[in-house]
Amino acid sequence: MAAAAVRPRIKLEKKSAKKGEIVEVKALVAHIMETGQRKDSAGKTIPRKILNKFTCTVNGKEVFSADFEPAVSANPYIQFKFRALESGPVILTWTDDDGSTIVGQDSITVT
């Protein structure tokens, strides 16, 4: 499956927030997260292929990131929070072992 074709599912707890309010983000992305520890029927190790990095920026500023190891489940789910300070795009980026990225976007309005 081409990583570029993957559309992550992103849910912001609220679309608009008062300045300083905490907003929860839930995101799910389809990915095999192959551990590199399994063997195929011929006994050959199946090469590792995981999303190893996740980053979330709000209006261009990083609010949360994570380094994933093979012990993160397939189709990784991530839930976190950020403090709403500025309106702008909420951009979620997953980086694959092969260097490709999966990007999802939403937005927040701070009142």
């Binding site: 520890q37 949360f64 991530i78 976190f80 403090r83």
Partner: protein, 142 residues
């Protein structure tokens, strides 16, 4: 006396002794993360099921008590599993912009084991918490 003798014996054969829960590189990862500093138990809540029927996808929430202000916040949280083929699970990175040091993901557990969280504060302090999860069906495939 008998106790002391026992300790000496253990120390002598230290290399050969395999502790029940230290088969992988979890201790090394924690040491690397803390720079050798011993983390203090507390300030972390680690939510995992007592029993996981399917080790392929076990929900895990970690939250660390912190005001998350510029003066005092959590910078990183390391999660390791001491019974997986490899201990590393995930590392979360926070900043005051996170507002709350809390994250949730789903993880793979090969067997019954301990999940250990270690949090690093911006002042260089480390905190830790541990939770055992009983796994019915392991999650590391072939």
């Amino acid at each position: 006396m008998a106790l002391g003798a026992g300790a000496i014996t253990t120390a002598l054969v230290g290399q050969a002794v395999v502790p029940a829960y230290a088969a992988n590189d979890s201790a090394d990862l924690i040491k690397k993360f803390t720079g050798g500093k011993e983390p203090t138990v507390g300030r972390i809540r680690l939510d995992l099921p007592e029993i996981a029927e399917n080790g392929n996808t076990v929900p895990m929430t970690v939250s660390v008590e912190s005001p998350m202000t510029e003066q005092s916040y959590v910078t990183d949280v390391l999660i390791v599993a001491d019974g997986n083929p490899r201990a590393g699970v995930v590392t979360f990175h926070f900043s005051p912009a996170s507002g709350v040091a809390e994250a949730n993901t789903r993880i793979r557990l090969a067997s019954t084991q301990n999940i250990i969280a270690v949090a690093k504060m911006n002042d260089g302090a480390f905190f830790t918490a541990k939770k055992e999860v009983k796994v019915t069906i392991g999650g590391c495939g072939g």
